[in-house]
Structures are given as C-alpha cells and as structure tokens.
C-alpha cells in the first residue's frame, strides 16, 4: 500500500463522519425543526394574506338583506341584463383575441425555431416590449393613432372592437409567446417537420396535424392565461368600448352598489381560479410554465 494513500484515508473518514453527524446528528434535526416553525409561520402569513380578503368579500356579499345572510346580491347581479351583455361581450372578445394571437404567434414562433433562429432574440425582444409600454400608454397611443384620419377605426363598432382585440393581443404577447416557445422547446421541431415532409405533407398539414397537436398543453395554457387577462380587463376597454365590456361594468357597479360589487369580485375570482385550474390540468406532466398575468 503506498504511503500517500494512508495519509489520505483518515481525512476522507473524517470528512464522511463530519457530514454524517451533520445529516443525522442531533444538531441537524434541531435545525430542521426550527426551520420548520419559521416555514409554517411564513406559510400561515401567506395563507392569511390570500384568504382574509376573500373571506371578507364573501361575507360582505352575503349581507345584502338586512339582519340575515342571503344570496340576494348574487341574485341581483345575475338578473341584471347588463351583466350578461357585458360578460358575453368580453367573452367573445377573449375568444377572438385568443384565436388571433394563436394564428399570429404559433406559426411565427415555429418558423423562427425552424428557419430563422438568428431572428429569435429580436422577436423575443419585441414580445417583451409590452412590459415597457404599460396598458394605459398603449391605449393612449392607439387612440391617438387610430381615432383620426387616415384610419378612423374608432368611428365604427367593428373598427373599435378590432382595435380592442389588437390591444389585447399586444398585452398577451409576452405570455402567449413564452407559452408557445416553451412548448416548442420540448419537442424536436426540425425532425418532426422533416419526417412530415418526407411523408409528403404540406405546410398546412405539418402545422395543424403535426406541430400544433404536440403543443396542445402549451397553446391551451397560453389561451387560458389570455382569457383570464381579457375577461375583466379595464384599462383598454374603458377607453375604447366603455360600458360594453365587463371590466368597466364591474367598475360602474362598484361606484354605487356595495354588496353587488362584492359578489362580482367573488364571481370573477371563481372565474380566475377555474382558468388557472384548467391550465394546471392541461399542464400535468409537462414542464412547469408561467401563470403570470400582468399589471392591471
């Protein structure tokens, strides 16, 4: 046995025993227990911050009838034709935004990965631009640009709705692009494309029957996130379509009806919850991706 090894062995042993006591010794267990208490403290604080406003809102929404708890506020809201009209409008705007965003972004992200990887930083930069231009500034610019000549989009109902959808598409750009790009990163775009091509598929077949089905989870989570953002959106809607959209409607209810506004908050919270739940449901097993919305 060479002498160097003898000199080296006790060191290793010492090292091992050292980490052994650190792992299982009394010192470590105590530390874990202490950490656990702090862990629970922070988690409890988080739970309180999250739930207390919800409980307060829910309790408040039940007090529409004096002296007793009732669902009167919900009944009033759901019987209001304005509620259904504005909600329907925002749902349809959300659906149009999602479809238009997908048609614009999914093929672009795919094409960038396949053919123009050098443009990727540029496109990524553009998709992050909405973080630099807040919604209030965006709608300001859109109105100034498209309300006068030569476009005059805001003079017609269809034109205004188009402008609204375009604004929402811009707001959704970072989330949609990220969702699609994360999905694309998980599949081998080039091989899939070439395999499809060698079997004689055209571009339509490749996109709609090969690539997009593989991106289903990513596309769906992008879609739900966009929907959650559009449905109660206030800033852009209030300046373009005013009381036609759900966000401005909620805001108007809040100005004069306390109980109804609380029930609206609970309804829209339940909606957000459902959409985030759907994202998680479709993302099972897939790499985790964003559920991050923007500022409103």
């Amino acid at each position: 046995m060479p002498p160097e090894r003898r000199a080296w062995e006790p060191d290793l042993l010492k090292c091992r025993s050292h980490s052994w006591t650190r792992f299982y010794g009394p010192d470590k267990t105590m530390r874990i227990r202490k950490l656990n208490i702090w862990g629970w403290v922070w988690v409890t604080a988080g739970v309180l911050y999250f739930f207390v406003p919800l409980i307060a809102t829910f309790e408040f929404s039940l007090r529409a009838k004096k002296g007793t708890l009732s669902l009167l506020a919900y009944q009033r809201v759901l019987e209001d034709p304005q509620f259904w009209r504005t909600f329907g409008f925002s749902v349809s705007m959300g659906v149009v935004t999602i479809l238009a965003s997908l048609i614009l972004i999914a093929p672009t992200a795919y094409w960038i990965r396949l053919r123009l990887p050098r443009l990727r930083p540029v496109v990524e930069f553009i998709t992050l631009m909405p973080f630099v231009v807040p919604a209030i500034v965006l709608v300001f610019g859109l109105i100034r640009l498209y309300s006068g000549k030569p476009f005059a989009l805001t003079n017609t109902v269809v034109g205004t709705d188009m402008l609204l959808v375009a604004g929402y598409m811009v707001l959704a750009l970072p989330y949609m692009y990220r969702a699609v790009d994360t999905g694309l990163a998980a599949i081998d775009v080039r091989t899939l494309t070439e395999a499809a091509q060698s079997l004689g598929a055209g571009w339509g077949t490749i996109l709609f029957r090969v690539v997009f089905p593989n991106l289903r989870a990513a596309l769906l989570s992008g879609a739900f996130l966009t929907f959650a953002m559009v449905i109660g959106e206030f800033t852009i809607a209030s300046f373009l379509v005013g009381m036609n959209a759900f966000g401005p409607y909620m805001s108007q209810v809040g100005q004069n009806k306390a109980y109804e506004s609380s029930s609206l908050a609970i309804i829209s919270f339940a909606l957000t919850w459902a959409l985030m739940g759907l994202i998680q449901f479709f993302n099972r097993g897939a790499p985790e991706q964003g559920q991050m919305g923007g500022a409103r």
Binding site: S19, F50, T57, R115, L116, V137, L138, G254, S268, F269
Partner: protein, 301 residues
C-alpha cells in the same frame, strides 16, 4: 420544400459567408412584424413624436421641461414610491414564502398548493381586487370592524386610509408577492444540493452557506424579479382607479384623465407624461435583463 434543401439552408446559415442564394424564409415572419409595427411601435412612436411638438406641430422641448413641475413630479414620485415599496416588501415576503414552501422541509402538498394559489392571486388584479380590499379594510370592511369591535382598535382614527398610500400598497401586495413566489420558486429549486453539501463538508455554517454561496447565486434573480414587480405596480391603473376613484395622484391616473379630456390643457404634455413612463419602464426592464442574464449563468443543469 424537401428535407435536403432545408438542411442545406441550415448549414448555409452557419457559414461565415452570407448565403449567395436569396432566401424567402423571412416572409414567414412578416405578419408578426407588421402587427408589432402597427399596434405596438407606431402608437408608441406617435406619443414619442407628440412629446416633442407644440400645438402647431413645431419641434419643442417645452413638454419635457413641463414634466419637471411640482405637481407632475409629485405624481411620478408617488408612483415610484408605491412601486418600490410594494416591489421590495412583496419581493421579500414572496421570497420567504417560497423558501418556506420549497426548502424548509414542509410536506410536498404545501409547495403544490402554494404555487396554485400564487398563480390565481397574481392574476386576480384590477377592479375586483379593489372591491375585495374595500370589503376587507374599507370603513365597513370585515377586518376594520373586527379590530374595532373585538380589539377596540380603530385603524381609521389611527391614521390608516385604504384610499391612500398605505392602503394602495397593501392592495398591490396581493398580486405582487404571489408573482415573486411564481418566479423565484424555480430559482430556489435550481440551488443544487451539491453546493450545500460541498459547503457543509468544508465546514461552513448555515449562515456562511447563505452569505457566500446561496445568496450570491440567488441575488440576480431576486433583484431582477423585484424590478419586474416594480414595473408591474408602476403600470397599474385599474386597481388604483377602482380603489381610490382617481383621488390619488398617480401617473397612470393622470394619463387616464388626460385621455378622457385634456385636463392638463396641453396635449403635448400628456404625450410627454406617457413618454416619461416608458422611459422609467425601459430603464427598469434593462436592469431586469442584465440581472436575468447573470442569474442564468448558474441555472444551467
């Protein structure tokens, strides 16, 4: 196009000499760039140009100079303060919460449900969030009434006001700290076990591990995310308007009233106001970008 030609194109792109044959591949991204130009760049450009024009369309710096008047500076200052306070406080709270949920050995379901709640809460902003906080901390809110009747603490007599700085900050925190949780959790999970074990084998204490290993690695993502939170609060309009009814002097609310009717009595000054917001956001996003680059260095697997 056949597969052989597509591989040819790809290998051609890697050569230092530019491809001699003209490629039509760029046509595929024309719709995207057209959209971005029409609905993102041109509207911003209109505001940019307008900030440097007077009423007759001549070039002027008077609008930019007009930003440096007390009333407008105070609007920027309040907005920046609220954004910074909620970014730092929300960031720290979110960080500790994420750490507790991921690292401190709590059961696995804590982590899962924490991420779910964070996803919901960070998307629950705007008008309904304002309603929720009015029902909680408003004059007749549940917490206000509970504190008054059970603990005999009248927070409104104590100077608290939901429609002021503190109230708005508490409301913003509701979407700020969950966003931190969502972004920092992957970074925390990227802290490799080997690093801690290596540090412990070298005899480092818990404090030394944090001071010299974990924190330097996490710091760029921590600061970067706080900058993101700053921008998140800086651009918020609906929450503040629904909560305060426009009574608080934020830049976004000022721009909102300027769009509805020329409250500043100067169209160009309104544009300059928007430009100032974009500049603040651009500076913070540049900071975020630099920090993200730094944090990614350690996050490769």
């Amino acid at each position: 196009m056949s597969s052989s030609s597509s591989t040819l194109l790809a290998s051609g792109a890697r050569r230092p000499k530019p491809a001699t044959r003209f490629s039509w591949a760029w046509l595929g991204v024309v719709p995207f760039f057209a959209f971005a130009t029409l609905f993102l760049f041109l509207p911003s450009f209109v505001l940019f140009v307008g900030s440097f024009q007077d009423a007759k369309g001549n070039f002027t710096l008077a609008n930019i100079a007009g930003l440096f008047t007390p009333s407008i500076l105070s609007a920027y200052w309040i907005t920046i303060r609220i954004s910074a306070v909620t970014a730092v406080a929300g960031g720290l709270f979110g960080f500790f919460l994420a750490y507790a949920g991921v690292m401190s050995g709590l059961p696995r379901w804590v982590r899962t449900s924490m991420l779910t709640f964070a996803g919901v809460a960070s998307n629950f902003a705007g008008v309904p969030l304002a309603f929720a906080f009015i029902a909680t901390l408003g004059r007749l809110g549940l917490v206000t009434v509970l504190l008054r009747d059970v603990f005999h603490i009248n927070i409104y007599q104590g100077g608290f006001n939901l429609y002021g700085f503190l109230g708005l900050s508490l409301t913003y925190m509701y979407f700020q700290f969950p966003l931190m949780v969502l972004i920092i959790t992957p970074a925390l999970e990227g802290l490799r076990r080997d690093w801690r074990e290596a540090a412990e084998n070298l005899g480092a204490t818990q404090w030394q591990y944090w001071r010299y290993v974990a924190l330097p690695i996490l710091l760029p993502s921590l600061l970067g995310t706080m900058i993101l939170l700053f921008g998140n609060a800086f651009g918020a309009y609906a929450t503040a308007l629904a909560l305060t009814g426009g009574m608080i002097n934020l830049v976004t609310i000022l721009i909102g009233s300027q769009i509805k009717g020329d409250v500043l009595h100067n169209v160009g000054l309104g544009y300059a106001l928007a430009l100032g917001m974009v500049v603040v956001m651009a500076v913070s996003m540049a900071g975020y970008y630099v920090l993200r680059r730094r944090s990614e260095r350690w996050m490769r697997n």
